[in-house]
Amino acid sequence: MKATRDIKTPLPNRLGIKGWAWAGRYKIERYLYTLHRITGVGLAAYIFIHLIANGFRLGGEDSWEGIMSAFSNPGIKFGEYLVMTAFIIHALNGGRLILQHMGFTLGKPKPPIYPYVDSMRRRRPLTWIMLAVMAALAIYVLVEFVISGA
């Protein structure tokens, strides 16, 4: 019997897309992973809509003004706010992931003295700071872009 599995055969993803939302006692970082996915897919969809809208520029002024007037309604304005908020969330969480994956937030090694503190808990202050900055920027954009710009 083979002791190890063939690495070319991937392990089955038993949970599928449901695993993004729930697979037991998820911590805040796991929900940030889900939020990163959702905002990423949302931003990708927005980029394609944005590129299609940009294509109307090729039709000249009338074509451009036509699509822009179709876009000037409160629903689109709210959608633009969601896009900007998604950008803030995706960018800040992406920055946190880069810092963690590159090992910048690991801190100095410590002797394992009880009660043990795992690496996730040691990094948690960074997560809370990032969430506070996210919330502040989302409120700033809401006031500056939506409320003042309305």
Binding site: P10, G16, G55, R57, L58, M68, F87, I98
Partner: protein, 111 residues
Amino acid sequence: MRETHFKFLQYLTGIGIFFLVGLHLLISHLGSGEPTEWSSVSQRATSAGWLTIYILILVFGIYHVMHGVRGIILEFSFPQSAVKTLNWALVVIGIAIFGYAVYIPINAYIV
């Protein structure tokens, strides 16, 4: 290239997008004036600086999106042959989108 190199490029393009899109949003949409008016759009279209920024956003953005989508799809375990097909399909789709998207600012800059 190894997976780690592709992942590292994902980080680099993400950082690039952050600064370039941030610049685009700050100057175009959060600054004074109406950025979507035809006169404003036409003025930006004549700028080589804006053209460069748009092309860089497209290169970084399309790589970042395609690699991100690949990462999501690959979570749903596929055999190695299907992964190769997926890789090539994403490359072709990415190049096609880039071709369409880059034509718009280049056409506006030339005409």
